[in-house]
């Protein structure tokens, strides 16, 4: 349809032009120029057809108008303004645009003032225009607009191109013609090339079209009424024209500024023209009549219309001629380029890439990418989460979708059907030509017809046979001969499955076997074959890797470059070592053991260097490189926990059921577990369920339940023995040592008065008799038997509770509170000052560390020894250690051979002296 219409128009045009007696050439040029515009625009040809005729009429009028340039000025702005809204409409869809057009026309008249500035901008744009051949044209064009402003004379001078001025006047009517021509051209796709050629010839005349445009603008003023009615399309055209401009390289910024709000619009319309392709263009051009459109048209001719293709063509020297076919190709190319670039820079704005391509006139992906890399602050897509299609997140998902089957795991293999069996057997017979088909089939059958696993079993058997050669005695081990007298011991063992068979080799190699190409293999067999080959490759790689390691180490050894691990004193190649921040080298194994000990054992949260004099710690990067995941996780967990605990020791409460930690204001008693899987409400103090707690005190609640009551009392007794770190809240128990207790967090406290201390100044430094109070001061004593003091308190609690119970229940139902009575505790007078054990590392059972579950009961009595001979001072009281409070901590210790006895959570003992 479009074509038809186009042809008709062409005819009109020709007749028209002849009518006027204008130069054909001029028309052509114009037409060419307009074509470029048209290429951008997809507007339906038919609609515009009638308009064109009208425009022709307009042309006549225009001549008159040209005389009064002042009028034109106001027109421009009008045109421009409407364009903005129009563009928006255009982007949405051409159909919608029409209705919108009408209001614009009215706007045109009103907005006179701004137009000049706009014009200037436009000119600037023109200058900026990258196109070479066109640049001249652009310059020429610029004057055009200026004329509109008033200083025509200058323009004439500037417009030396000569033909322009006169033609301009004449031409003005042409815009209408142009549109027609365009339609023509568009319609006649084949002829285009010819026209292009012409266009090239006429490049010099390019100016004319612009002028025409101006003229058109003038007409528009006069004919606005008509235009509005009929030419709704026109404004659109303008918009289109602009759109391409913006898209264009350097001109863009200027245009953007000039048009302001319009800028965004134009970018989008572009793609449309491309898609719309050829037929559309005709209609838009008629729109150009407004002055601006003229200028734009000029540009359009040069830049926008041909837009993408144009530049290429410019380079070629073809000039302004819009080649639609070529354009199509180039558009394809740009589209491809854009797609490729977007794949690499998912966050870059598509329009920007387009601009880049146009501005830089580069069609090289490398150049584009380089440019983007060098200018990382390119405009980015907004509000869109950019997901790189190749990101690991996606990849992992994909991987999980296709679970890999381990064809070497016999237990997971299902029997295969007969056809697969036959193929697998054939393959195996090709693989092992010295083995009898019977053996192969037997083994295959035993292994449920699976190729991979059977082949592996055969390979292993043969390898073994080669290694276990009885003939190693020879000088040089000759490759063992496979003959009918030798055999392999085929053996397969996995789980409960165990098959064995002695297989003799064939006398001669098998001569005939069936081969398959990949396509003819059944999928399961093919999969297994691929799997086997993959595995073999992997194993070979792994063997190579090990060999490389070994060679590396040997080389180090040879060069005497082995480095001693400062911890285990072993010798290692550098690659096997890790280092603290200060560069002390340790082998990886030592670091792992050290971390294990520190994290699970003594519960340190800091992995300081193993070197005594080094205060550095291991950098996270090294830890992550070396430590196995479970230790690393635990380490981080521990660290985080400690930090939290240190930050809010008082307010951190753990759910007694799920151990979920949460912060609770210290005056709130009800703890509602935030763990969605728990949600239990408990009393912060007694840890009883809150719903049972209603109107009851913790004691009353506990009394309701005898066991609970006892537990609560016993916990109290325990609490008397536990010291809480003032800094991190960790519970501490002293099993031996002096009264200066230090928590794993580094805080120190006095065991006696529970005060936070720092160093030994807190304690009495006066020498005095054992057990006797100091006469010189009232300070705490560094060495006392802690159990005495604690026991006193504990006994008091116990007695009190028992009394109470007795009162309540009577003697009969009395139950002992606390641990079962031990043999009567005979307190022995301490003979000497036996300040209880000094920091000792005897491997006596100790209190497990912080996350204790149940402490070992009474500490083994410490028997005073002298010269390794037990002193006969009778039995020593076993200190009472009540069960610890219900401190369930969710540390599921992995199976690591950490011995509990070494897990002392705290350090008792004097501060380290400065070492030399």
């Amino acid at each position: 349809m479009a074509e038809r219409g186009g042809n008709e128009e062409v005819i009109n045009l020709n007749s028209f032009s002849s009518h006027r007696g204008k130069d054909w050439i001029n028309h052509r040029d114009e037409s060419l120029i307009t074509i470029s515009d048209s290429s951008d625009e997809d507007l339906p040809v038919f609609l515009e057809m009638p308009e064109k005729q009208q425009t022709e009429e307009d042309d006549d009028d225009i001549v008159i108008l040209t005389e009064t340039p002042k009028h034109q000025q106001p027109l421009r702005p009008n045109v421009i303004r409407p364009a903005a809204p129009w563009q928006g409409a255009d982007t949405v869809g051409e159909g919608g645009s029409r209705s919108a057009v009408e209001p614009l026309s009215t706007d045109l008249q009103h907005s006179a003032l701004p137009c000049e500035g706009v014009v200037n901008n436009l000119m600037v744009e023109g200058n900026a225009g990258p196109s070479r051949g066109e640049s001249v044209d652009v310059a020429l064009q610029q004057p055009g607009p200026s004329e509109l402003n008033g200083p025509r004379s200058e323009l004439t001078g500037s417009q030396e191109p000569g033909p322009s001025l006169l033609p301009v006047i004449k031409m003005r009517p042409q815009p209408a013609d142009n549109t027609e021509i365009i339609s023509l051209e568009n319609a006649d796709l084949p002829p285009q090339q010819e026209k292009r050629m012409e266009a090239r010839e006429w490049q010099g005349k390019n100016l004319k079209p612009e002028q025409k445009l101006e003229g058109i603008a003038a007409k528009t003023t006069t004919e606005q009424g008509e235009m509005q009615e009929k030419g709704q399309l026109e404004p659109r055209a303008v918009a289109h024209g602009r759109a391409p401009q913006q898209g264009q390289p350097e001109a863009n910024p200027a245009s953007l500024q000039a048009y302001g709000g319009k800028a965004p619009g134009p970018a989008f319309p572009r793609p449309e023209p491309q898609q719309d392709g050829i037929p559309g263009p005709a209609s838009p051009q008629p729109a150009h009549p407004p002055e601006e459109s003229a200028q734009q048209a000029g540009r359009d001719n040069e830049q926008p219309g041909p837009a993408f293709p144009a530049q290429g063509s410019h380079q070629l020297g073809s000039g302004d001629v819009p080649e639609q076919g070529a354009a199509g190709q180039e558009q394809d190319l740009t589209a491809l380029l854009i797609r490729e670039t977007e794949a690499r820079f998912p966050d870059v704005k598509k329009e920007y890439i387009e601009e880049l391509i146009l501005i830089k006139n580069c069609y090289d992906l490398n150049v584009l990418c380089n440019f983007l890399l060098e200018n990382p602050d390119y405009p980015k897509k907004e509000g869109r989460v950019v997901l790189n299609p190749s990101s690991s997140l996606l990849a992992s998902q994909d991987e999980t979708k296709v679970p890999k089957v381990d064809y070497f795991d016999f237990s997971k293999l299902a029997p295969l059907d007969q056809r697969c069996f036959i193929q697998a057997a054939d393959l195996l017979m090709a693989d092992f030509k010295m083995l009898s088909s019977q053996d192969i089939k037997w083994a295959l059958h035993e292994l449920k017809g699976h190729y991979a696993i059977t082949r592996k079993a055969f390979s292993d058997a043969i390898k073994k046979w080669q290694e276990l050669s009885p003939e190693t005695s020879g000088k040089r081990k000759r490759r063992k001969e496979m003959n009918q007298y030798s055999y392999i011991d085929f053996k397969f063992e996995q789980g409960d499955v165990k098959i064995e068979k002695r297989m003799f080799f064939l006398e001669n190699k098998r001569r005939h076997w069936r081969t398959y190409d990949r396509l003819s293999l059944l999928p399961p067999v093919l999969l297994e074959q691929e799997f086997y080959e993959q595995k073999v490759k992997e194993m070979a790689e792994h063997a190579d890797f090990l060999l490389a390691l070994q060679m590396n180490e040997e080389q180090y050894q040879k060069d005497g470059q082995m480095i001693e691990c400062r911890c285990c004193y072993g010798e290692f190649a550098f690659e096997e070592l890790t280092q603290c921040a200060d560069g002390h080298l340790f082998c990886k194994e030592c670091l792992i053991k050290y971390a294990q000990e520190a994290v699970f054992g003594s519960g340190k949260s800091e992995l300081s260097c193993m070197e005594g004099s080094c205060t550095c710690s291991f950098p996270t990067s090294e830890l992550e490189k070396v430590l196995p995941e479970n230790i690393l996780c635990k380490y981080y967990e521990r660290k985080a926990e400690e930090e939290v605990a240190a930050a809010c020791a008082d307010e951190l409460v753990r759910c007694p059921f799920c151990n979920f930690p949460a912060l609770l204001d210290s005056d709130v008693k009800r703890f509602s577990c935030p763990n969605p899987r728990c949600r239990k409400e408990t009393c912060r103090k007694c840890q009883g369920l809150w719903k049972e707690h209603m109107n009851l005190t913790c004691e009353q609640l506990a009394e309701k339940d005898d066991i609970k009551y006892r537990t609560s009392i016993e916990e109290k007794m325990t609490a008397a023995r536990i010291r809480k770190c003032h800094k991190c809240g960790t519970g501490l128990i002293k099993s031996e040592g002096c009264n200066r207790m230090s928590c794993r967090c580094g805080a120190q406290m006095c065991y006696l008065c529970r005060a936070a201390i720092n160093g030994y100044d807190h304690f009495c430094q006066h020498p005095r008799s054992p057990g006797a109070p100091c006469q010189d001061c009232a300070k705490c004593s560094l060495w006392t038997d802690p159990t005495e003091d604690d026991e006193k308190i504990i006994h008091e609690i116990q007695k009190e509770a028992e009394e109470e119970q007795r009162k309540k229940n009577g003697e009969n139902s009395f139950k002992r509170i606390g641990p079962p009575v031990e043999k009567p505790v005979e307190k022995i007078q301490r003979i000497e000052v036996i300040p209880r054990p000094v920091p000792q590392n005897f491997h006596q059972p100790r209190m497990p560390p912080y996350p204790f579950v149940h402490p070992p009961f009474p500490l083994p009595p410490v028997r005073p020894l002298y010269n390794n001979i037990p002193l006969n001072i009778g039995p020593i009281p076993a200190p009472y250690v009540p069960p610890l409070p219900n401190m369930r901590v969710n540390f599921d210790f992995p199976q690591i051979n950490v011995q509990l006895e070494h897990n002392l959570p705290m350090h008792f003992g004097p501060q380290p002296r400065h070492r030399f």
Partner: protein, 152 residues
């Protein structure tokens, strides 16, 4: 880590302040030997020490005790000494056995007032130094082992 212990044993054996260092009961983790203090009143005798390593050595501290009775404010009647170096909090895996022994010897040579285990002895040392010295020498003479020939 047996390799490390063997190397450490070699090192301690080459140390002139200790003698007769060897493993006890064929257990490489239990060492015995003689320490030779420098200062009076203990420099007339040799004191047997025992050093026990954790099976987790060197990730857990070893433990040193004196097996020879000594009249010393920092050594209790069971031969234990306060050695912060070998506490869990202070122990570093790279600390060597010889450093532990050096620390022990240093303690014998010059009692650290902050590491007193026998306050009565300490008071005696402070208030009646001559008496302390006399007793200590007597004690050393009675209990300490004879000093080995320095050239062997």
């Amino acid at each position: 880590m047996a390799g490390r212990i063997a190397k450490e044993l070699d090192e301690v054996r080459r140390w002139e302040r200790a003698r007769d260092v060897r493993t006890l009961d064929g257990n490489v983790r239990r060492w015995g030997g003689l320490l030779l203090p420098n200062n009076p009143p203990y420099n007339t005798g040799a004191f047997r020490f025992e050093l026990t390593f954790s099976p987790n050595h060197p990730f857990e501290p070893p433990c040193a005790t004196l097996r020879t009775p000594i009249y010393h404010p920092s050594v209790d009647l069971e031969g234990r000494v306060c050695q912060p170096l070998t506490t869990h909090a202070e122990w570093k895996p790279a600390t060597r056995a010889i450093q532990v022994l050096e620390d022990l010897l240093l303690q014998l040579d010059g009692p650290d007032p902050r590491r007193l285990l026998r306050l009565d002895v300490a008071r005696e040392l402070q208030e009646r130094p001559e008496e302390f010295r006399r007793r200590a020498e007597e004690h050393t003479r009675l209990h300490a082992e004879p000093r080995p020939d320095p050239h062997t």
